[in-house]
Amino acid sequence: MPHPQTWLKPLLEGLYCEPGGFFIDPQRPVGRAVITHGHSDHARPGHVAALATAPTIAIMQARMGEGAPGTTQALRFGERIRLGSVTMWLEPAGHVLGSAQVCMEYEGSRAVVSGDYKRGADSTCEPFVAVPCDVFVTEATFALPVFQHPDPHAEIAKLLESIKLFPERTHVVGCYSLGKTQRLISLIRQAGWDAPIWLHGALLPMCKIYEDFGVRLGDLRPATVAAKAQLVGQIVLGPPSAIADRWARRLAEPVVCLASGWMRVRQRAKQGGVELPLVISDHADWRELLETLEEVGAPEVWVTHGREEALIHEAGLRGIKGRALRLVGYGDEGEE
């Protein structure tokens, strides 16, 4: 049985499955790519052919225009196909809509590339499935014991309490357009907030795709043209770059909030001028990363990007061999 390191290789373009003839989330244009999810640090433009879930393909096409892959093939979760001499299939990663782990079998040895993932409940995408394997390739965005995401419902409760405390102000929440926005909306809806939620123009297209794939987000309205007075006491969502900048001047005394796993660390919140940090993340926290390593049971873990040092150290303590791939280009922090 060949060790995965003989057939799955970190090249300049990205992780390459040699006997299958494809790259996973390559950073440069390639002939054949398998894409885990639609975030721009994983789905780059210019590939000749791409394989992914249907939502991921829809997201890529909406975002890339001319840079979209020449040909695409959509796979359902669990649907196995043969590429070269490799059997490949996708399993849910629980990160954003359509996000997938790439599972590969070659001559009896199995490797799983997680892409980005989380384990916490999220009604806007399918939950992570642990696949036993020989090598598990993981992210490590929040791989430090200080990152322990709290219950997201409690974070939303903070937001709603703040609206009660400051009814004359507008709460503007910074969130990335793909994934975080829709999860936030769904959490706010679960907390019983039926009022319209107002969106920066940059967030609308992805919400449309979620709706197209059957995720109900309720009454969403563009904040761009809305009158300032209408937004008093309301929730407005915008990309993190806009919430404390010129765009936000249209809002009534905005309370600047930011939904991100990084908000766990005070200095991060302070630097961004955030008045109400909300610790809500798309990524596995420290406990979820370790729990996942236990569940997949792989004797070896490879770390693509993030704080790999801590994760590899802890894996070692648990008898799991660690390897840092140091793939460049992933983990643009603006996207968490």
């Binding site: 200080v146 404390a244 150290h313």
Partner: protein, 527 residues
Amino acid sequence: MIAFSNMLERLVFSPGRLAKIAILRHYFETQPDPERGIALAAITGELRFAQAKAGLIRDLASQRTDPVLFALSYDYVGDLAETVALMWPARATNQSPPLLSEVVETLATAAKGELPDIVSGWLDASGAAVRFALLKLITGGLRVGASARLAKTALAECRTGLVPDDIEEIWHGLAPPYAGLFAWIFDDGPRPDPLDAPVFRSPMLAQPIELTDLALIDAAAFRAEWKWDGIRVQLVSTAGGQALYSRGAEDISGGFPEILAAMGSPAVLDGELLVLRHGVVAPFSDLQQRLNRKSVSAKMQRDFPVHVRLYDILFDGAEDIRTLPFDERRKRLEAWYTHNRPHRMDLSETIPFTKLSELAELRLSARAASIEGLMLKRGDSPYVPGRPKGLWWKWKRDPLTIDAVLMYAQRGHGKRSSFYSDYTFGLWRGEELLPVGKAYSGFTDQELLMLDKWVRDHTTQRFGPVREVERGIVLEVAFDAAQLSTRHKSGVALRFPRISRIRLDKPPGEADQLDTLMALVEKMPTA
């Protein structure tokens, strides 16, 4: 401690004053006694107990965490208490998070050897926010994000008709957990009586005088004094004790034991705290060495000898004489001074004049670093807390100005968080620009819009929230004085710098040289 830590978190991240008041008010209105009283003590800095050392936290962390993971985490977070609060591997427990009162009481009574077990028990029972507040509280590093004054303002808002000064005037006669105070404010209880405690009285403040005001002034009705560049203090001596307060009601007695020792017979006095050597007032930067200290060494007392220049008296013995006219109070002050002859104090000199033009001339000629300008006080004015109109005027000398080049801009806070509104400016030394100061006021809203846009369009580099800009805009900066400073690369520090004009007409190359500013630096005064 859950409500307490939540409140602290919101206070720390909220830049706006009104927002902070709303947060405090909500806390005081919703929390029970004695929790809210102890929280008030924590906010106002009145909480006293033997603090645990940071070493205790390190020990706990090393017992519960892997050293490599701890080191990596600490390196990332940068703060010991925060690192431990965030990564603490809590053991399952059926305990609830401790109450603030329980924490404070336990810390006051527990033996040192018991602390590690007690603290780790609390940490196990709490979430990250409570753990953080707890660790900061017990190591004495709690940052509240609100001043004592703001807490009193929030409390005053909780009872109709109350103003912050009403609380200020009894505050120093109260002690945690302030049951009487809360009963007065929330339950219509009686006003707590400070008895003969040396409490603070809100000071009377002067208004800046404008040319239009000046024209209306009847010279015969006013008295004139120098305005000294020190800090305003209140000296209180009663049968119950003595205290020295800053203008903001902060008890600064501990930092100035020699002033306390010099206090005479019971009185409440108003004056200016100065560093004085051989009768000559030293620059403000000397006084700064003595500020914000809980205690002070003999060497500091020797090197920076402090002195109070008295200008008013509020209580003569136990008699409240604030309703008497200024001229009457001045006589009482002189009598008190003659009777006591206190060390380290003198009387603020009254400047005789018959016409305002004489004062105008004096003001122009006053260039000693320690003189900020003149004070004009109505002879018949009672001592009114706050800033009443038309009774006391401050007539500051004209500011100095330099033409400096905008070098860096930073975003402001609160309402200004989307604007680049804090400007660092510099002067030339040869080909090089050296930063000499920072200003964030003096411009109109229109000018702010223009500067903000200019900064965005001419950014050359970004460092986090700071943008470096092209050398393209000259700012005329006004300031009250220039003083030598070892803390600045340029070697000079400005007092109260503000933007007085935007000199779009002036090419940056023609802005002032650093030498021009150095020539304005005030040496030891000769007058």
